[in-house]
């Protein structure tokens, strides 16, 4: 240990120790000279040998190498800039992709002790839901011994005075801020001691962004009154900008959950046990020292206990599954429910795809740089030869060359980090991300950038360094491999981009099976406002009549599944071993007319049908291929259904997913409070939307219906697919550009190496085409091999794409053909450019040289 410290001391004051050593040696010389002995020998060398004992020589050599590398790079600024740019692109896209991953999965949310935070979902063999009915959560809070802290969060949209659009409200349990360790920016936050009482006055905490926009960051905002949904409420404070509120969406303000009925009159959020209630998200902290399974076991018992009194609403064998909630990934989904098994939109296939594509870009960039370095290596032959002749060993040369690569890649990593940051900023701004998401790279991202840089240095630097250090000039084979790798990688990127663009085209251009342009959906949220089936029936009838009376309205119908919405009721159906995931819509008979879905066979539903259903054609084909589906029976959740009609296939909820099939059933009486309206109009749908809102509010002023133009919902649905295609397209083009430059460079280099030969051939009367074919023949095989590998790789990747993303058909010939043709054209351009220059060579001039 002491020795290590002494070593460190030597490192830190090396100058002094070196002077002392020199002094010692000088004195030794003097004394020896006095005694007439002449000790010959190189003092410098002696000193170096003595210094070796300190164990820091490698550091000296490294710094020598580094200084030399810096000089070399500074001497050829063009090469350095090109190399850093290429690396910046290659590393930058990886950094951006990793940053996204980091946001979602690696970086904990900015809350106190994120590791011990759990989120609970409801699960049973038949159904799942991400949110719990509030009274169920209250029951757990009263009786749980394993969860000392339980937080509730209910998100809603509420109209606010002075704002055009309703804003994002979060109704939370009063311990929410305290437990998450939040501190106020202004005023105070919710406090169980003051705000929990039933008599407490209505209060509101503003979100940072809302405070900035709506109040112009007014520091005197605390204590002011504001009207929410027409109800006055006191502002008690402003949350910090970093406060996430455990929501991936921007929260504009927070209010105590027990005051929710005050803002939404008639709301039964606090008392309604049914799954139709909007419910609350449940977060909890585990008693320290207990495993998660203990809490799950306890909650299962409590749920079973609760089921004794609420058998209709608490599911049989209901379990509450706790998942770590300290990361953005776990709060991505606010409220989703469905029957059957949960369809998880797993992040990993997407992440794997993006990761693979980004690595491909890096490969292309590295391949490029590798060939550049090789070409430079030949140009540096003289320098290397001199260094060898003055005694540089192969190891030392290798280290020197690799140091240059490493230095380049460190610069490249820094530039890539900056580029990745810029991309992230742009992305977050584009997506209207919440304020607490900070695009600045943290240590993980920085480390990742550095790691990628070193990996890149290994990829592009090691082999050329080996070749050059060995002073082997036969680098053709290596160059061919590099060309092949580049071709393969950029080919994969192009094809995948092509496939995605085609899939997107499919989704936008082809009819989703229903006509949505002139349709408006109205979701009044009757269940959330405590409507009984009878009241709901009355309200819906009145609304239907009033809407029909509006000018231009063609058709009005009811459905519980708004097309292109977030609510899905799905089930898995099995008939004679054939399976299908079906989407169940509860509708009234008018539905098909409103959405212009053709009825192909059989009859429509009529009021009073109970077991009759209309199946989509794709479902009929899936379950009863080649048979007459009319009159067939199947089970949904234990209930018998008889197919009475066949409607045209329509992709109601997920236009991009061709694997989902649909079935239409009449609503049961109990379904009525969760129904909404669909209205088709000839007039501009925007006008209709406004009219529908005022109509709905005039029939019951406590409601705040969500009105959507299906046109907009459709566009929003496709946005993910669109942005993915855009990103992959940009990546593909970037890779293509990089590959083109690389190939251009390699060919130009091959030409310049054979200038004399070309000159002689031309002088002897060879035809230009022949000459070019001789020069370019060496690139034929690598390009062909690269293309083949690229096609194979793309086929494999697109399989993953189909599973994880969209209905991409993985062998779309047009996409492949387009990519290959585009690729061949750009490569041809890249080759012709230097080739043309070569043919202009004046034979006489080249021969006179040397």
């Amino acid at each position: 240990m002491a020795e290590l410290f002494r070593r460190l001391r030597y490192l830190l004051s090396r100058g002094r120790f070196d002077r002392e050593l020199r002094d010692d040696l000088e004195f030794h010389r003097e004394m020896a000279a006095r005694e007439g002995r002449n000790t010959l020998g190189n003092t410098l060398r002696l000193r170096e040998e003595a210094r070796e004992a300190w164990g820091w020589m490698w550091l000296d050599r490294c710094s020598q190498d580094l200084r030399y590398a810096l000089r070399v790079l500074r001497r050829s600024p063009g090469f350095t800039a090109a190399a850093i740019l290429m690396l910046a692109i290659g590393i930058g896209v990886n950094v951006a992709a990793f940053s996204c991953f980091n946001f979602l999965v690696l970086r904990p949310l900015p809350v106190r002790d994120p590791a011990s935070l759990l989120r609970f979902h409801r699960h049973s063999p038949q159904a799942y839901a991400f949110a719990l009915p509030y009274p169920e959560l209250s029951f757990f809070r009263e009786h749980s011994r394993t969860l000392p802290v339980i937080l509730a969060l209910n998100s809603a949209r509420l109209p606010v005075e002075g704002e055009q659009q309703p804003l994002n409200a979060a109704f939370v349990s009063t311990n929410f801020f305290q437990d998450l360790g939040a501190s106020p920016l202004l005023g105070r936050l919710l406090d169980p001691a003051r705000d929990d009482a039933a008599s407490a006055e209505p209060v509101l905490v503003l979100g940072y962004g809302f405070w900035q926009r709506h109040f112009g960051a007014d520091p005197l905002v605390v204590g002011r009154l504001i009207r929410l949904n027409g109800k006055p409420v006191t502002i008690i404070g402003v949350a910090q900008r970093e406060f996430s509120g455990l929501s991936i969406n921007r929260s504009d303000f927070w209010a105590p959950v027990h005051q929710q009925p005050y803002f939404a009159p008639g709301s039964r959020l606090l008392t309604d046990f049914s799954v139709d209630s909007s419910g609350v998200q449940m977060f909890a902290r585990l008693q320290p020292g207990l495993p998660r399974s203990a809490a799950e076991a306890e909650l299962r018992l409590l749920a079973a206990e609760l089921r004794k009194t609420h058998s209709a609403d608490i599911w049989e064998n209901e379990t509450l599954v706790g998942e770590p909630a300290g990361y953005a990934d776990s709060i991505r989904v606010g409220n989703r429910r469905g029957t059957g098994s949960e369809d998880r939109d797993d992040l990993y296939p997407v992440a794997a795809l993006v990761g693979a594509l980004c690595l491909l870009i890096l490969t292309v960039a590295c391949g490029n740089l590798g060939s550049l370095l090789l070409a430079r290596g030949v140009a540096r032959e003289r320098e290397i030869a001199i260094r060898v002749s003055v005694g540089a060993g192969r190891g030392r040369l290798l280290r020197q060359l690799f140091t240059e690569s490493l230095l380049l890649s460190v610069f490249g990593a820094a530039a890539g980090l900056a580029l990745g940051y810029a991309v992230m900023r742009g992305l977050l701004a584009l997506r209207d991300a919440p304020d607490w998401l900070d695009p600045a790279p943290d240590w993980r991202v920085a480390l990742f950038a550095l790691g990628t840089g070193i990996l890149a240095a290994l990829l592009f630097g090691l082999t050329p360094a080996l070749q050059i250090a060995r002073q082997r000039h036969r680098t053709t084979f290596l160059r061919q491999i590099l060309v092949a790798a580049q071709v393969a990688a950029s080919c994969v990127l192009l094809i995948v981009a092509g496939l995605l663009v085609r899939a997107l085209q499919d989704a936008t251009a082809t009819n989703p099976g229903f006509e949505y342009h002139q349709v408006v959906s109205v979701d009044p949220g009757l269940a959330a406002h405590g409507y009984t089936p009878a009241r709901a029936r009355a309200w819906l009838d009145t609304m239907q009549a009033r809407l029909r009376a509006l000018p231009g309205v063609e058709s009005v119908s009811l459905t519980d599944t708004a097309p292109l919405g977030n609510h899905v009721t799905s089930a898995r159906v099995e008939v004679e071993g054939r399976r299908a995931d079906i989407l169940i819509s509860r509708i009234d008979p008018e539905f098909f007319r409103t959405l212009k879905i053709p009825l192909l066979r059989g009859r429509n539903l009529t009021r009073g049908d109970t077991h009759a259903v209309v199946a989509g054609q794709s479902m009929a084909q899936r379950l009863w291929p080649g048979e007459n589906p009319l009159g067939k029976e199947f089970d949904i959740d234990g209930g018998k259904s008889i197919v009475v009609g066949i409607a045209g296939s329509a992709r109601l909820v997920r236009p991009e997913d061709p694997d989902m099939v649909e079935v239409y059933a009449p609503p049961a009486e109990s379904d009525l409070p969760s129904m909404g309206l669909l209205v088709r109009t000839e007039a501009p749908p925007d006008d209709l939307a406004r009219a529908a809102i005022s109509l709905a509010r005039s029939t019951d002023p406590t409601l705040f219906p969500a009105v959507q133009l299906l046109r907009n919902s459709f566009r929003r649905k496709l946005r993910t697919a669109e942005s993915t295609a855009l990103v992959v397209g940009i990546l593909g083009l970037a890779a293509q550009l990089l590959a083109c430059f690389g190939i251009l460079g390699v060919v130009a280099y091959a030409v310049s190496q054979r200038v004399r030969e070309i000159g002689i051939r031309l002088a002897l009367g060879a035809r230009p085409l022949q000459v070019m074919s001789v020069v370019l023949r060496q690139f034929f095989w690598p390009v062909a091999a690269g293309l083949t590998a690229g096609l194979g790789g793309a086929a494999a990747l697109s399989k993953l794409l189909r599973k994880g993303l969209y209905g991409v058909s993985n062998l779309d010939p047009e996409a492949y053909l387009a990519a290959v043709v585009f690729f061949a054209l750009t490569v041809l351009l890249a080759v012709l450019f230097p080739a043309k220059r070569a043919l202009k060579i004046d034979p006489a001039r080249t021969l006179r040289q040397n």
Binding site: A2, E3, R6, R7, Y10, E20, L21, D23, D24, L25, F27, H28, E30, M31, A32, R34, T39, G41, L46, R47, E49, A50, R51, E52, A53, W54, G55
Partner: protein, 108 residues
């Protein structure tokens, strides 16, 4: 008389032993070893100074500034307690090994 090669590892021991009788500067260490060995063992500066650096690093000796007999400011090396202990172990090891070698040479 030609100088004999120093057996490896012996130099450290000799330097430590020579310093036991008091602080010396580098040249004097070489001189002392040379003369005490009746001019048999010569210490080249090429091996002395690397060895000294190693010993310094191990903490067996320390260096301090002093004035040489030629009135020059030089560094004097002196043994530390740790060096003292090191010398003891090296000497005893050396004794044991040479005794063993000698007995082999005698009886074999």
């Amino acid at each position: 008389m030609p100088k004999a090669e120093m057996p490896p590892g012996a130099l450290t021991m000799l330097v430590l032993r020579v310093l036991r009788s008091g602080p010396l500067h580098g040249y004097a260490i070489a001189q002392r070893i040379h003369s005490l060995s009746s001019d048999v063992l010569g210490v080249e500066e090429g091996s002395l100074y690397p060895a000294l650096q190693k010993i310094l690093l191990k903490g067996w000796v320390t260096a301090e500034w002093g004035i040489s007999e030629t009135n020059r400011k030089v560094r004097f090396y002196s043994l530390t307690p740790a060096g003292e202990r090191q010398l003891e172990t090296e000497l005893s090891d050396y004794e044991r090994v040479t005794a063993a070698i000698r007995s082999v040479l005698r009886t074999a």
